[in-house]
Amino acid sequence: MSAVFLIVVPILVAFISILFKKAAPYLLLIASFANVIMLYFLSPETILIGGYGAPYGISLIVSNFSIASLYIVNILFFLVVALTIKDFKKLSSILLVALAGLNGLLLTGDLFNLFVFIEISGIAAYLITTTNNKPLATFNYLVLGTVGSSFYLLGLIILYNMFGTLNMADLVSEITSSGINPLAVSLPFLFMFIGLGVEAKLLPFNGWVKGILGSSNKLSGPMIASVYAAAIGLLFGNLLNTYMFTFDSKIQLIIIVVLLGSITAGEAMAYASTKVKEILLFSSIAQAGIVILVFINGLVGLGLVLVMANAFAKFVLFMVITQAESEIGNDDVDALQGLFVENKIVGAAFTVSTLSILGLPLFLGFVVKLNVLISFISLDKFLFPVVILITSIVEGVYFIKLLIKLWHKEDNAPIIRFDFILKYVVVIIALLLVAYGLLFSEVSDLVNYVATSIGGIL
Protein backbone atom coordinates (compact mmCIF):
# COMPACT_ATOMS: atom_id res chain seq x y z
CA MET A 1 0.00 0.00 0.00
CA SER A 2 1.44 3.33 -1.01
CA ALA A 3 1.51 6.14 1.51
CA VAL A 4 0.24 8.51 -1.20
CA PHE A 5 -3.25 7.20 -0.48
CA LEU A 6 -3.10 8.69 3.01
CA ILE A 7 -3.08 12.13 1.42
CA VAL A 8 -4.99 11.48 -1.78
CA VAL A 9 -7.97 9.63 -0.33
CA PRO A 10 -9.01 12.39 2.13
CA ILE A 11 -8.58 15.11 -0.55
CA LEU A 12 -10.57 13.15 -3.11
CA VAL A 13 -13.31 12.34 -0.61
CA ALA A 14 -13.36 16.02 0.38
CA PHE A 15 -14.27 16.95 -3.20
CA ILE A 16 -16.89 14.21 -3.38
CA SER A 17 -18.35 15.30 -0.03
CA ILE A 18 -19.04 18.77 -1.44
CA LEU A 19 -21.28 17.18 -4.07
CA PHE A 20 -23.09 14.93 -1.61
CA LYS A 21 -23.63 17.19 1.38
CA LYS A 22 -25.90 14.80 3.27
CA ALA A 23 -23.46 11.93 3.03
CA ALA A 24 -20.46 14.12 3.94
CA PRO A 25 -20.21 13.16 7.66
CA TYR A 26 -20.36 9.47 6.78
CA LEU A 27 -17.76 9.91 4.05
CA LEU A 28 -15.54 11.65 6.59
CA LEU A 29 -15.91 8.82 9.08
CA ILE A 30 -15.25 6.17 6.44
CA ALA A 31 -12.24 8.00 5.00
CA SER A 32 -10.62 8.68 8.36
CA PHE A 33 -11.19 5.08 9.47
CA ALA A 34 -9.85 3.80 6.15
CA ASN A 35 -6.71 5.88 6.75
CA VAL A 36 -6.13 4.12 10.07
CA ILE A 37 -6.58 0.74 8.37
CA MET A 38 -4.26 1.70 5.50
CA LEU A 39 -1.49 2.45 7.99
CA TYR A 40 -1.32 -1.24 8.83
CA PHE A 41 -0.10 -1.98 5.30
CA LEU A 42 2.63 0.65 5.23
CA SER A 43 6.26 -0.34 5.13
CA PRO A 44 9.35 1.90 5.20
CA GLU A 45 10.13 3.20 1.71
CA THR A 46 10.68 6.35 -0.31
CA ILE A 47 7.95 7.28 -2.77
CA LEU A 48 8.78 9.42 -5.78
CA ILE A 49 5.76 11.38 -6.92
CA GLY A 50 5.29 11.24 -10.67
CA GLY A 51 8.37 9.08 -11.05
CA TYR A 52 10.75 12.07 -10.99
CA GLY A 53 13.87 11.01 -9.15
CA ALA A 54 15.04 12.93 -6.11
CA PRO A 55 16.08 15.69 -5.72
CA TYR A 56 14.07 16.93 -8.74
CA GLY A 57 10.70 15.47 -7.89
CA ILE A 58 8.76 15.55 -4.64
CA SER A 59 9.40 12.52 -2.49
CA LEU A 60 7.41 11.12 0.41
CA ILE A 61 9.50 9.46 3.11
CA VAL A 62 7.90 6.55 4.94
CA SER A 63 10.22 5.80 7.86
CA ASN A 64 9.57 4.00 11.13
CA PHE A 65 9.26 7.43 12.71
CA SER A 66 6.69 8.66 10.23
CA ILE A 67 4.68 5.42 10.45
CA ALA A 68 4.51 5.72 14.24
CA SER A 69 3.61 9.43 13.92
CA LEU A 70 0.88 8.68 11.40
CA TYR A 71 -0.63 6.11 13.74
CA ILE A 72 -0.82 8.63 16.57
CA VAL A 73 -2.30 11.44 14.46
CA ASN A 74 -4.75 9.30 12.45
CA ILE A 75 -6.10 7.38 15.43
CA LEU A 76 -6.63 10.59 17.42
CA PHE A 77 -8.19 12.30 14.42
CA PHE A 78 -10.63 9.44 13.91
CA LEU A 79 -11.58 9.44 17.61
CA VAL A 80 -12.19 13.20 17.70
CA VAL A 81 -14.23 13.09 14.51
CA ALA A 82 -16.24 10.03 15.48
CA LEU A 83 -17.21 11.55 18.83
CA THR A 84 -18.10 15.05 17.68
CA ILE A 85 -19.11 15.08 14.03
CA LYS A 86 -22.82 14.76 14.73
CA ASP A 87 -22.80 18.34 16.06
CA PHE A 88 -20.53 19.73 13.33
CA LYS A 89 -21.78 18.13 10.13
CA LYS A 90 -21.05 21.27 8.10
CA LEU A 91 -17.32 20.91 8.73
CA SER A 92 -16.98 17.46 7.18
CA SER A 93 -15.22 18.57 4.00
CA ILE A 94 -12.86 20.86 5.92
CA LEU A 95 -11.95 18.08 8.32
CA LEU A 96 -11.07 15.85 5.39
CA VAL A 97 -8.75 18.54 4.05
CA ALA A 98 -7.24 18.88 7.52
CA LEU A 99 -6.56 15.13 7.61
CA ALA A 100 -4.82 15.24 4.23
CA GLY A 101 -2.74 18.22 5.35
CA LEU A 102 -1.67 16.60 8.61
CA ASN A 103 -0.70 13.33 6.91
CA GLY A 104 1.23 15.31 4.31
CA LEU A 105 3.15 17.18 7.03
CA LEU A 106 4.42 13.93 8.46
CA LEU A 107 5.25 12.29 5.15
CA THR A 108 6.78 14.84 2.85
CA GLY A 109 10.50 14.99 2.17
CA ASP A 110 10.41 18.30 0.34
CA LEU A 111 10.67 21.71 1.99
CA PHE A 112 8.27 23.59 -0.26
CA ASN A 113 5.78 20.74 -0.22
CA LEU A 114 5.94 20.97 3.56
CA PHE A 115 5.03 24.68 3.33
CA VAL A 116 1.99 23.78 1.23
CA PHE A 117 0.88 21.17 3.76
CA ILE A 118 1.45 23.60 6.64
CA GLU A 119 -0.85 26.06 4.88
CA ILE A 120 -3.48 23.42 4.02
CA SER A 121 -3.67 22.14 7.57
CA GLY A 122 -3.42 25.72 8.84
CA ILE A 123 -6.36 27.01 6.77
CA ALA A 124 -8.38 23.97 7.85
CA ALA A 125 -7.48 24.76 11.47
CA TYR A 126 -8.67 28.39 11.11
CA LEU A 127 -11.95 27.13 9.73
CA ILE A 128 -12.31 24.56 12.50
CA THR A 129 -11.81 27.30 15.08
CA THR A 130 -14.57 29.44 13.54
CA THR A 131 -16.95 27.07 15.33
CA ASN A 132 -15.88 28.78 18.58
CA ASN A 133 -17.86 31.83 17.39
CA LYS A 134 -15.00 34.11 18.36
CA PRO A 135 -14.07 35.68 15.00
CA LEU A 136 -11.47 38.01 16.53
CA ALA A 137 -9.56 35.12 18.12
CA THR A 138 -9.69 33.17 14.86
CA PHE A 139 -8.51 36.26 12.98
CA ASN A 140 -5.55 36.59 15.36
CA TYR A 141 -4.72 32.95 14.77
CA LEU A 142 -4.96 33.45 11.01
CA VAL A 143 -2.66 36.49 11.01
CA LEU A 144 -0.08 34.87 13.28
CA GLY A 145 -0.23 31.61 11.35
CA THR A 146 0.18 33.36 7.99
CA VAL A 147 3.07 35.51 9.18
CA GLY A 148 4.67 32.39 10.64
CA SER A 149 4.41 30.42 7.44
CA SER A 150 5.69 33.44 5.48
CA PHE A 151 8.81 33.35 7.63
CA TYR A 152 9.11 29.65 6.97
CA LEU A 153 8.86 30.34 3.23
CA LEU A 154 11.47 33.11 3.44
CA GLY A 155 13.86 30.74 5.21
CA LEU A 156 13.36 27.99 2.68
CA ILE A 157 13.89 30.32 -0.28
CA ILE A 158 17.16 31.56 1.20
CA LEU A 159 18.24 27.93 1.57
CA TYR A 160 17.21 27.23 -2.02
CA ASN A 161 19.26 30.19 -3.17
CA MET A 162 22.28 28.94 -1.24
CA PHE A 163 22.17 25.25 -2.12
CA GLY A 164 19.85 24.95 -5.14
CA THR A 165 17.71 22.17 -3.74
CA LEU A 166 14.45 21.76 -1.86
CA ASN A 167 14.75 18.08 -1.05
CA MET A 168 15.43 17.78 2.67
CA ALA A 169 17.87 14.87 2.53
CA ASP A 170 19.67 16.36 -0.46
CA LEU A 171 19.92 19.69 1.35
CA VAL A 172 21.51 18.02 4.37
CA SER A 173 24.14 16.32 2.22
CA GLU A 174 24.77 19.59 0.34
CA ILE A 175 25.26 21.47 3.60
CA THR A 176 27.61 18.80 4.94
CA SER A 177 29.64 18.44 1.76
CA SER A 178 29.99 22.21 1.28
CA GLY A 179 31.62 22.47 4.71
CA ILE A 180 29.83 25.78 5.25
CA ASN A 181 30.04 27.54 8.61
CA PRO A 182 26.89 26.61 10.59
CA LEU A 183 26.40 30.28 11.44
CA ALA A 184 25.80 31.01 7.73
CA VAL A 185 22.77 28.68 7.56
CA SER A 186 21.49 29.62 11.00
CA LEU A 187 19.45 32.58 9.72
CA PRO A 188 17.25 30.62 7.27
CA PHE A 189 16.85 27.83 9.79
CA LEU A 190 15.90 30.36 12.44
CA PHE A 191 13.24 31.82 10.10
CA MET A 192 11.86 28.34 9.55
CA PHE A 193 11.95 27.61 13.26
CA ILE A 194 9.95 30.80 13.92
CA GLY A 195 7.41 29.76 11.30
CA LEU A 196 6.88 26.36 12.81
CA GLY A 197 7.04 27.80 16.34
CA VAL A 198 3.73 29.61 15.77
CA GLU A 199 1.85 26.36 15.27
CA ALA A 200 3.90 24.61 17.95
CA LYS A 201 2.76 27.20 20.53
CA LEU A 202 6.29 28.28 21.42
CA LEU A 203 6.90 31.47 23.34
CA PRO A 204 6.63 34.26 22.09
CA PHE A 205 4.61 33.17 19.07
CA ASN A 206 1.74 31.66 21.00
CA GLY A 207 -0.45 34.74 21.34
CA TRP A 208 -3.29 32.94 19.59
CA VAL A 209 -3.50 29.98 21.97
CA LYS A 210 -5.50 31.63 24.73
CA GLY A 211 -8.15 33.01 22.40
CA ILE A 212 -8.56 29.75 20.51
CA LEU A 213 -8.29 27.06 23.15
CA GLY A 214 -9.76 29.22 25.92
CA SER A 215 -13.06 29.34 24.07
CA SER A 216 -12.81 25.99 22.32
CA ASN A 217 -15.71 23.61 21.91
CA LYS A 218 -16.04 19.83 21.70
CA LEU A 219 -14.46 19.71 18.26
CA SER A 220 -11.91 22.53 18.19
CA GLY A 221 -10.52 21.82 21.69
CA PRO A 222 -9.38 18.22 21.20
CA MET A 223 -8.58 18.82 17.54
CA ILE A 224 -6.18 21.74 18.09
CA ALA A 225 -4.84 20.77 21.51
CA SER A 226 -4.37 17.10 20.80
CA VAL A 227 -4.30 16.20 17.08
CA TYR A 228 -2.65 19.36 15.71
CA ALA A 229 -0.27 19.66 18.66
CA ALA A 230 0.84 16.05 18.16
CA ALA A 231 1.34 16.53 14.42
CA ILE A 232 3.41 19.70 14.81
CA GLY A 233 5.45 18.20 17.65
CA LEU A 234 6.23 15.16 15.52
CA LEU A 235 7.06 17.36 12.54
CA PHE A 236 9.66 19.09 14.70
CA GLY A 237 11.01 15.68 15.66
CA ASN A 238 11.28 14.74 12.02
CA LEU A 239 13.03 17.97 10.99
CA LEU A 240 15.35 18.19 13.98
CA ASN A 241 16.53 14.61 13.95
CA THR A 242 16.03 12.88 10.69
CA TYR A 243 17.00 15.74 8.50
CA MET A 244 18.34 19.08 9.29
CA PHE A 245 17.85 22.22 11.28
CA THR A 246 21.53 22.46 12.01
CA PHE A 247 22.11 25.43 14.25
CA ASP A 248 25.23 27.15 15.33
CA SER A 249 25.85 26.45 19.03
CA LYS A 250 25.14 30.07 20.00
CA ILE A 251 21.82 30.09 18.15
CA GLN A 252 20.97 26.74 19.72
CA LEU A 253 21.62 28.27 23.12
CA ILE A 254 19.13 31.06 22.34
CA ILE A 255 16.53 28.52 21.22
CA ILE A 256 17.04 26.47 24.38
CA VAL A 257 16.61 29.57 26.54
CA VAL A 258 13.37 30.34 24.67
CA LEU A 259 12.19 26.75 25.19
CA LEU A 260 12.99 26.82 28.90
CA GLY A 261 11.18 30.17 29.11
CA SER A 262 8.23 28.61 27.32
CA ILE A 263 8.13 25.73 29.81
CA THR A 264 8.35 27.88 32.95
CA ALA A 265 5.98 30.59 31.68
CA GLY A 266 3.43 27.98 30.58
CA GLU A 267 3.42 26.29 33.97
CA ALA A 268 3.33 29.60 35.84
CA MET A 269 0.36 30.86 33.83
CA ALA A 270 -1.45 27.55 34.26
CA TYR A 271 -0.91 27.90 38.01
CA ALA A 272 -2.49 31.34 37.99
CA SER A 273 -5.55 30.39 35.90
CA THR A 274 -8.99 29.88 37.32
CA LYS A 275 -10.62 28.36 34.26
CA VAL A 276 -10.15 24.67 33.56
CA LYS A 277 -9.50 25.09 29.83
CA GLU A 278 -6.94 27.83 30.49
CA ILE A 279 -5.13 25.56 32.92
CA LEU A 280 -5.03 22.86 30.27
CA LEU A 281 -3.93 25.17 27.45
CA PHE A 282 -1.12 26.81 29.41
CA SER A 283 0.06 23.41 30.54
CA SER A 284 0.11 22.28 26.90
CA ILE A 285 2.33 25.28 26.02
CA ALA A 286 4.78 23.97 28.61
CA GLN A 287 4.46 20.41 27.28
CA ALA A 288 5.19 21.61 23.73
CA GLY A 289 8.36 23.23 25.05
CA ILE A 290 9.48 20.00 26.72
CA VAL A 291 8.76 17.98 23.56
CA ILE A 292 10.92 20.23 21.39
CA LEU A 293 13.64 20.32 24.05
CA VAL A 294 13.71 16.51 23.96
CA PHE A 295 13.84 16.42 20.16
CA ILE A 296 16.53 19.12 19.94
CA ASN A 297 18.76 16.94 22.12
CA GLY A 298 18.42 14.04 19.71
CA LEU A 299 16.13 11.80 21.77
CA VAL A 300 13.89 10.82 18.86
CA GLY A 301 12.13 7.76 20.25
CA LEU A 302 11.49 9.28 23.66
CA GLY A 303 10.17 12.45 22.05
CA LEU A 304 7.69 10.45 20.03
CA VAL A 305 6.44 8.54 23.05
CA LEU A 306 6.20 11.80 25.00
CA VAL A 307 4.09 13.33 22.22
CA MET A 308 1.91 10.21 22.19
CA ALA A 309 1.40 10.21 25.97
CA ASN A 310 0.58 13.92 26.00
CA ALA A 311 -1.70 13.83 22.97
CA PHE A 312 -3.85 10.97 24.23
CA ALA A 313 -4.06 12.42 27.73
CA LYS A 314 -4.92 15.90 26.37
CA PHE A 315 -7.58 14.30 24.18
CA VAL A 316 -9.30 12.85 27.27
CA LEU A 317 -9.00 16.09 29.26
CA PHE A 318 -10.31 18.38 26.52
CA MET A 319 -13.08 15.95 25.54
CA VAL A 320 -14.38 15.72 29.10
CA ILE A 321 -14.07 19.41 29.94
CA THR A 322 -15.58 20.75 26.69
CA GLN A 323 -18.48 18.29 27.00
CA ALA A 324 -19.09 19.37 30.61
CA GLU A 325 -18.79 23.04 29.65
CA SER A 326 -21.29 22.68 26.82
CA GLU A 327 -23.89 21.57 29.40
CA ILE A 328 -22.98 23.88 32.28
CA GLY A 329 -22.13 26.84 30.03
CA ASN A 330 -19.02 27.83 31.95
CA ASP A 331 -15.57 26.37 32.53
CA ASP A 332 -14.63 28.12 35.78
CA VAL A 333 -13.11 25.69 38.22
CA ASP A 334 -15.72 26.77 40.75
CA ALA A 335 -18.62 26.19 38.35
CA LEU A 336 -17.38 22.69 37.58
CA GLN A 337 -16.73 21.87 41.22
CA GLY A 338 -17.92 18.36 42.09
CA LEU A 339 -18.16 17.40 38.41
CA PHE A 340 -17.02 13.84 39.04
CA VAL A 341 -19.09 13.17 42.16
CA GLU A 342 -21.88 11.82 39.96
CA ASN A 343 -19.66 10.81 37.01
CA LYS A 344 -17.14 8.55 38.64
CA ILE A 345 -16.09 6.58 35.55
CA VAL A 346 -15.31 9.65 33.47
CA GLY A 347 -13.71 11.19 36.54
CA ALA A 348 -11.40 8.20 36.94
CA ALA A 349 -10.30 8.45 33.29
CA PHE A 350 -9.75 12.21 33.67
CA THR A 351 -7.70 11.65 36.82
CA VAL A 352 -5.55 8.97 35.21
CA SER A 353 -4.83 11.23 32.21
CA THR A 354 -3.96 14.19 34.46
CA LEU A 355 -1.63 12.09 36.58
CA SER A 356 -0.03 10.69 33.44
CA ILE A 357 0.73 14.20 32.16
CA LEU A 358 2.06 15.00 35.60
CA GLY A 359 4.33 11.97 35.41
CA LEU A 360 3.33 10.03 38.49
CA PRO A 361 4.36 6.36 38.72
CA LEU A 362 2.02 3.71 37.31
CA PHE A 363 1.25 5.79 34.23
CA LEU A 364 2.82 6.14 30.79
CA GLY A 365 3.82 9.74 31.49
CA PHE A 366 6.03 8.56 34.33
CA VAL A 367 7.96 6.07 32.21
CA VAL A 368 8.60 8.73 29.58
CA LYS A 369 9.51 11.51 31.98
CA LEU A 370 11.85 9.26 33.94
CA ASN A 371 13.62 8.17 30.77
CA VAL A 372 13.85 11.76 29.54
CA LEU A 373 15.43 12.85 32.81
CA ILE A 374 17.88 9.92 32.82
CA SER A 375 18.85 10.64 29.19
CA PHE A 376 19.45 14.32 29.94
CA ILE A 377 21.65 13.41 32.90
CA SER A 378 23.60 10.90 30.82
CA LEU A 379 24.11 13.65 28.21
CA ASP A 380 25.60 15.80 31.02
CA LYS A 381 22.83 18.37 30.65
CA PHE A 382 21.88 18.92 34.25
CA LEU A 383 19.95 22.15 33.82
CA PHE A 384 17.08 20.56 31.87
CA PRO A 385 16.19 17.91 34.48
CA VAL A 386 16.22 20.61 37.16
CA VAL A 387 13.85 22.85 35.17
CA ILE A 388 11.57 19.93 34.26
CA LEU A 389 11.44 18.73 37.87
CA ILE A 390 10.74 22.17 39.31
CA THR A 391 8.01 22.88 36.76
CA SER A 392 6.59 19.41 37.43
CA ILE A 393 6.15 20.37 41.06
CA VAL A 394 4.24 23.51 40.03
CA GLU A 395 2.23 21.37 37.62
CA GLY A 396 1.55 18.90 40.42
CA VAL A 397 0.21 21.63 42.69
CA TYR A 398 -2.30 23.04 40.21
CA PHE A 399 -3.40 19.70 38.78
CA ILE A 400 -3.95 18.15 42.23
CA LYS A 401 -5.81 21.30 43.32
CA LEU A 402 -7.97 21.00 40.20
CA LEU A 403 -8.65 17.30 40.78
CA ILE A 404 -9.62 17.86 44.42
CA LYS A 405 -12.08 20.57 43.35
CA LEU A 406 -13.57 18.39 40.63
CA TRP A 407 -14.01 15.41 42.95
CA HIS A 408 -15.39 17.14 46.05
CA LYS A 409 -18.63 18.92 46.68
CA GLU A 410 -20.96 18.51 49.60
CA ASP A 411 -24.23 19.16 47.81
CA ASN A 412 -25.64 20.17 44.43
CA ALA A 413 -22.95 18.39 42.49
CA PRO A 414 -23.58 18.97 38.76
CA ILE A 415 -24.95 15.96 36.93
CA ILE A 416 -23.77 15.73 33.34
CA ARG A 417 -24.87 13.06 30.92
CA PHE A 418 -21.66 12.14 29.15
CA ASP A 419 -22.02 10.49 25.81
CA PHE A 420 -22.08 6.70 26.06
CA ILE A 421 -19.31 6.20 23.47
CA LEU A 422 -17.23 9.02 24.91
CA LYS A 423 -17.27 7.23 28.26
CA TYR A 424 -15.92 4.06 26.70
CA VAL A 425 -13.27 5.84 24.66
CA VAL A 426 -11.87 7.86 27.56
CA VAL A 427 -11.85 4.81 29.82
CA ILE A 428 -10.01 2.69 27.22
CA ILE A 429 -7.41 5.44 26.70
CA ALA A 430 -6.97 5.74 30.47
CA LEU A 431 -6.51 1.97 30.75
CA LEU A 432 -3.92 2.07 27.96
CA LEU A 433 -2.06 4.87 29.75
CA VAL A 434 -1.92 2.64 32.84
CA ALA A 435 -1.03 -0.50 30.87
CA TYR A 436 1.85 1.17 29.07
CA GLY A 437 2.94 2.68 32.37
CA LEU A 438 3.46 -0.85 33.66
CA LEU A 439 4.94 -2.37 30.50
CA PHE A 440 8.34 -0.70 30.40
CA SER A 441 9.64 -3.14 27.79
CA GLU A 442 6.88 -2.30 25.30
CA VAL A 443 7.70 1.39 25.56
CA SER A 444 11.42 0.83 25.08
CA ASP A 445 10.65 -1.40 22.08
CA LEU A 446 8.74 1.49 20.53
CA VAL A 447 11.58 3.89 21.31
CA ASN A 448 14.08 1.58 19.62
CA TYR A 449 11.78 0.93 16.66
CA VAL A 450 11.49 4.65 15.98
CA ALA A 451 15.21 5.24 16.45
CA THR A 452 16.02 2.79 13.64
CA SER A 453 14.41 5.20 11.25
CA ILE A 454 15.53 5.28 7.64
CA GLY A 455 15.07 9.03 7.30
CA GLY A 456 17.71 10.88 5.37
CA ILE A 457 17.59 8.63 2.34
CA LEU A 458 16.84 10.44 -0.87
Binding site: F112, E119, Y126, L136, L166
Partner: protein
Protein backbone atom coordinates in the same frame (compact mmCIF):
# COMPACT_ATOMS: atom_id res chain seq x y z
CA UNK B 1 18.34 45.48 -6.26
CA UNK B 2 14.98 43.75 -6.59
CA UNK B 3 15.81 41.74 -3.49
CA UNK B 4 16.16 44.91 -1.42
CA UNK B 5 12.82 46.21 -2.66
CA UNK B 6 11.21 42.86 -1.83
CA UNK B 7 12.63 42.80 1.68
CA UNK B 8 11.56 46.42 2.25
CA UNK B 9 8.00 45.48 1.22
CA UNK B 10 8.15 42.46 3.55
CA UNK B 11 9.22 44.64 6.47
CA UNK B 12 6.58 47.29 5.67
CA UNK B 13 3.94 44.55 5.75
CA UNK B 14 5.27 43.25 9.06
CA UNK B 15 5.24 46.78 10.51
CA UNK B 16 1.64 47.22 9.34
CA UNK B 17 0.53 44.00 10.99
CA UNK B 18 2.17 45.00 14.26
CA UNK B 19 1.04 48.63 14.32
CA UNK B 20 -2.46 48.68 12.80
CA UNK B 21 -5.59 48.06 14.84
CA UNK B 22 -8.04 47.94 11.95
CA UNK B 23 -8.92 44.50 10.62
CA UNK B 24 -8.95 45.54 6.95
CA UNK B 25 -5.63 47.36 7.30
CA UNK B 26 -4.12 44.26 8.91
CA UNK B 27 -5.30 42.14 5.98
CA UNK B 28 -3.79 44.70 3.57
CA UNK B 29 -0.51 44.61 5.48
CA UNK B 30 -0.56 40.84 5.28
CA UNK B 31 -0.93 41.14 1.52
CA UNK B 32 1.97 43.61 1.26
CA UNK B 33 4.10 41.18 3.23
CA UNK B 34 3.13 38.35 0.91
CA UNK B 35 3.82 40.41 -2.22
CA UNK B 36 7.26 41.28 -0.84
CA UNK B 37 7.92 37.64 -0.23
CA UNK B 38 6.71 36.59 -3.68
CA UNK B 39 8.93 39.22 -5.32
CA UNK B 40 11.84 37.92 -3.27
CA UNK B 41 11.19 34.37 -4.48
CA UNK B 42 11.03 35.51 -8.11
CA UNK B 43 14.22 37.56 -7.71
CA UNK B 44 16.07 34.45 -6.54
CA UNK B 45 15.48 32.75 -9.89
CA UNK B 46 16.38 35.78 -12.02
CA UNK B 47 19.39 35.45 -14.27
CA UNK B 48 20.91 38.57 -15.90
CA UNK B 49 19.93 38.50 -19.58
CA UNK B 50 18.03 35.24 -19.18
CA UNK B 51 14.95 34.38 -21.25
CA UNK B 52 11.80 32.45 -20.42
CA UNK B 53 12.71 28.80 -19.82
CA UNK B 54 10.93 27.46 -22.92
CA UNK B 55 12.67 25.69 -25.79
CA UNK B 56 11.56 27.18 -29.12
CA UNK B 57 12.76 26.92 -32.69
CA UNK B 58 14.90 30.02 -32.19
CA UNK B 59 16.09 29.25 -28.65
CA UNK B 60 17.21 25.65 -28.77
CA UNK B 61 20.94 25.73 -28.31
CA UNK B 62 22.57 24.52 -25.13
CA UNK B 63 24.21 27.89 -24.48
CA UNK B 64 20.92 29.80 -24.23
CA UNK B 65 20.63 31.48 -20.82
CA UNK B 66 17.36 30.70 -19.06
CA UNK B 67 15.98 32.10 -15.84
CA UNK B 68 15.35 29.50 -13.13
CA UNK B 69 11.76 28.25 -13.62
CA UNK B 70 11.42 26.63 -10.19
CA UNK B 71 10.90 29.84 -8.15
CA UNK B 72 8.23 30.86 -10.68
CA UNK B 73 6.37 27.63 -10.02
CA UNK B 74 6.78 28.12 -6.27
CA UNK B 75 5.49 31.68 -6.42
CA UNK B 76 2.40 30.55 -8.26
CA UNK B 77 1.55 28.19 -5.41
CA UNK B 78 2.38 30.85 -2.83
CA UNK B 79 0.07 33.35 -4.57
CA UNK B 80 -2.82 30.87 -4.57
CA UNK B 81 -2.32 30.16 -0.88
CA UNK B 82 -2.11 33.88 -0.19
CA UNK B 83 -5.41 34.50 -1.97
CA UNK B 84 -6.99 31.71 0.10
CA UNK B 85 -5.89 33.19 3.41
CA UNK B 86 -6.91 36.70 2.32
CA UNK B 87 -10.38 35.46 1.40
CA UNK B 88 -10.69 33.71 4.74
CA UNK B 89 -9.45 36.82 6.55
CA UNK B 90 -12.04 38.98 4.77
CA UNK B 91 -14.78 36.48 5.61
CA UNK B 92 -13.76 36.73 9.26
CA UNK B 93 -13.70 40.53 8.98
CA UNK B 94 -17.30 40.45 7.72
CA UNK B 95 -18.26 38.19 10.60
CA UNK B 96 -16.62 40.59 13.06
CA UNK B 97 -18.43 43.55 11.52
CA UNK B 98 -21.75 41.73 11.86
CA UNK B 99 -21.01 40.91 15.48
CA UNK B 100 -19.51 44.21 16.70
CA UNK B 101 -20.48 46.75 14.03
CA UNK B 102 -16.88 47.92 13.62
CA UNK B 103 -13.56 46.99 12.04
CA UNK B 104 -11.52 48.55 14.87
CA UNK B 105 -10.14 45.85 17.14
CA UNK B 106 -9.98 48.23 20.11
CA UNK B 107 -13.70 48.92 19.88
CA UNK B 108 -14.62 45.24 19.88
CA UNK B 109 -13.81 44.79 23.56
CA UNK B 110 -12.50 41.61 25.07
CA UNK B 111 -13.99 38.45 23.67
Amino acid sequence: MLQYAAIILFVIGLYGILSQRNVIKIILSLNILEIGLNLFIISVGYVEGGIAPILTSTNNTSNTVFVDPLPQALVLTAIVIGVGTTALGLALAKKMYQKYGTFEIDEMGAE
